[in-house]
């Protein structure tokens, strides 16, 4: 398993969020999540302009064996979606924290980021799940 970049925050449902320098937030799913799902065959990203609430279903990742909802770690408006995933959903498998990002949001409440898990806390969640 690749090391978790230190600038990410997590939900215990395995989504990550990264605050960018321009104040937007990029969102994806964790390396653990892509590994558990297996080879992704389809990713449904949210529409640009859609308003998302923290914890609401935002995207769907589909592998050969399951389709799972991706929940939004923060509230706000979707300002970009990773259209490359339309033809290359495997980017989520190969580069979950980089080219496999799902969408970007303009957060409506910066405070919500503070409530997310740090990489260390998320690793502890994974360790507990493994038991």
């Amino acid at each position: 398993m690749s090391a978790i970049p230190s600038n990410l925050k997590f939900l215990d449902s395995h989504e990550w969020a990264r605050l960018e320098s321009d104040g937007t937030v990029t969102i994806g799913i964790s390396d653990h999540a892509q590994n558990a799902l297996g080879d992704l065959v389809f990713v449904e990203v949210p529409e640009v302009g859609k308003a998302l609430a923290k914890g609401g279903a935002a995207a769907v990742v589909e592998s050969v064996k399951a389709a799972s909802d991706v929940y939004s770690p923060v509230s706000g408006e979707v300002i970009a979606a990773n259209d490359a995933l339309g033809s290359a959903p495997e980017l989520v498998n190969t580069d979950p924290y980089g080219q496999g990002w799902l969408y970007k949001i303009k957060p409506s409440n910066q405070g919500e980021l503070e409530q997310l898990l740090t990489p260390g806390a998320y690793e502890k969640v994974l360790a507990d799940e493994a038991h």
Binding site: E47, E62, A67, D69
Partner: protein, 461 residues
Amino acid sequence: MPFIPHTEADVAEMLAAIGASSIDALFDEIPAALRIQSLAGIPDALTEMQVGRLMQSRAQRDGRPLNFIGAGAYEHHIPAAVWAIVSRGEFYSAYTPYQAEASQGTLQLLYEYQTMMASLTGMQVSNASLYDGASALAEACLMAVRAHRKSKSARILVPAAVNPIYLEVARAIAEGQNLKFDIVPFAMGEGEPGKGTTQPSSLEQYRGQDITAVVVQQPNFFGLLEDVDAITDWAHANNALAIAVVNPLSLAILKPPGEWGAKGVDIAVGDGQPLGVPMSSGGPYFGFMTTRMEHVRQMPGRIIGRTLDLDGKPGFTLTLQAREQHIRRSKATSNICTNQGLLVTAATIHMSLLGSTGLENVAAASQQQTRKLVEALTRIKGVKLAFSGPRFHEAVLQLDRNVAGVIEALAKRNVIGGFDLTPRYPELGNALLVCATEMRTDEDIATYAAALTQVMAEAMS
């Protein structure tokens, strides 16, 4: 292991394990007052021999009348080989089997079916069937709402000339999921071109509004040909999806929905009954659905794909299962999308025996016999043709008297005279929908005309 789910000993053992005294005791939480002790009107059990005798006597009571009703179910010749093959043990199941990939023959047949339906409708992908034509329309409307993410209204425009029974079913299934159906009237003016069909101009009042999808049925419920190109183009020009309801047999001679208008429709559905399924008191029939690849993940039901196994050999497999209810649960594309494997088997064999030329011949013969029927019946005093436009194999007649009475009088003469449109379309007056397929010979048509002449000669009641 014997094919007996549980013996009395098994039941006693299981009850003992959970500490229940009897199976009835498992239902103790339901108050006695809410339980039905006996079902009124349900007779005592009969033996197989008694049931056989009862059914035989009822079938005899029906006799073998000449049938001139269509209205969504059509009496066509079915080659004897079709049901002889379907009844083979290897095929004789209503469902895709568990561990489906172990039944390669069944999967290959479903794959061939999908290929035939996609080809017949001119669309890119087909599912392995739905419950029936009416629920297929409901599924198409629900699918359109999922597929058309930019549209927020969940409003569907449905012509009044769509099969009204389909519309009732679509409403029952989809209105509870917040879909709204707006009914578009058909042209009714005397001498108006396209009388009895849906005019694109009657859609104009919806221009600029958020409409999710527009439904169009070809031929429409009155057997008339709609201007499907214009309606499909209107839908797309107004940011709505287009849903086609079609009689699959008619596609042997009519333009397939995949080619309607500039872009073709987005979803095509219908009832597969005309393709080798006998009319049996309303069912079972099967529904079909085809669509474009861009919408495939929103399509309900099973899809069989062709693939290669580990050794590189071709084989068949269920595909895109993650949309389905056994995986996606409440978020599945459908939780009502029962397929009709056995009837699909019949349709596939029927289509492969007839081939495209055979289907064309059946469609053309049906159209010809209906033309003869209309000619013969409209010669009778008090009978006129309601709509003169081009049609497939059904027509609306207007009578100078109550339709129900005429149908009853015809039935006494061993003729099932048609479908009474009066209750559903009072605006059409005393309207009777009649149909002739290739099964109605010239002699049958003469028999009907003679019977109707007698009935219409009687004093008006």
